[in-house]
Amino acid sequence: MKIIYHCFGGSHSSVTAAALHLGLLAKDRLPSPQELMALPYYDKTNNDDFGAIHYMGRDEQGNEIYVLGKKSLGNRFSHLLMGVAEILGKEDQILVINVMDRVNISMKLGGFTSRRIGIPVLGRPVVIQGTRQAFSSMANMVEVIKIRVLNLKQR
């Protein structure tokens, strides 16, 4: 199965969720700023990355994990991608997860300052702080997704 985590920029929350899914971050311990910055794509994307589906890795069940930035398209984007997969007859091979509801104000402000305005020296500490604040919520979401994927596969 292909699992796509998506958020506004595909740079912070979706990358953190994908890293949790892949075990690149431990779910029971707050990651350090260095650990977050070591993740692929974390606070490293630019405008050309909007709409690009980036491969993050393969989980222990063999599922392929991807991240995607979709600007402000919201949950509609999940339906859109699932609808296209359905047209191709492959809706059972894909799961699309919107991570935006786990994003806090620090992540929005810091992410905007770092990636959109292009002042990482100001935005990065704020978005990292925000990611750490939202970490347990994202870890919880990913655990639920993993259970959902297992259930889907057992059907």
Binding site: G51, N75, L80, G83, V84
Partner: protein, 144 residues
């Protein structure tokens, strides 16, 4: 084989383009098209099946918001990830100057008592953009 017409909404310019593609002789009045200015249908975000063309290909209309190019890129990459060939899915972006205005007027269709006004105004805009939309439909040229 599927063809998806992409527009900022799925119930206006892309719907008209898909209908013109299926039936080039169709009436240019879009108000009679199924799903025209249907707020609920568009809000779902799913591709809307319109019909089949003369080669039996399935034709869809899809609303993707203001950045049609970005979503086109995503769908193309999704197709590759899902191991589908380019022949299985063709994307036709339909972009017009007044797409923001149409999206705004479309919001009026949320309220049933304003929908007739919304439909009337959008139909007028699409009528003005008709030639531009037709030019973006595969198989059509300026001279047709």
């Amino acid at each position: 084989m599927n063809i998806i017409f992409l527009g900022s909404t799925g119930v206006h310019q892309s719907l008209l383009a898909a209908s013109v593609y299926i039936d080039p002789q169709s009436n240019r009045s879009c108000q009679t098209l199924p799903y025209f200015n249907d707020f609920q249908q568009d809000a779902g975000g799913h591709p809307i099946y319109i019909g089949r063309d003369h080669k039996g290909r399935r034709i869809h209309s899809l609303g993707v918001g203001s950045d049609v190019k970005m979503v086109g890129k995503t769908i193309d990459q999704l197709r590759i990830i899902l191991d589908s060939s380019a022949e299985e899915l063709q994307l036709v972006p339909i972009m017009i100057r007044s797409q923001r205005l149409i999206s705004w007027l479309h919001q009026l269709a949320r309220m049933s008592w304003l929908k007739p006004l919304s439909s009337y105004l959008i139909a007028g805009i699409l009528n003005r953009e008709y030639d531009n939309i037709r030019r973006q439909v595969p198989g059509f040229t300026d001279s047709e």
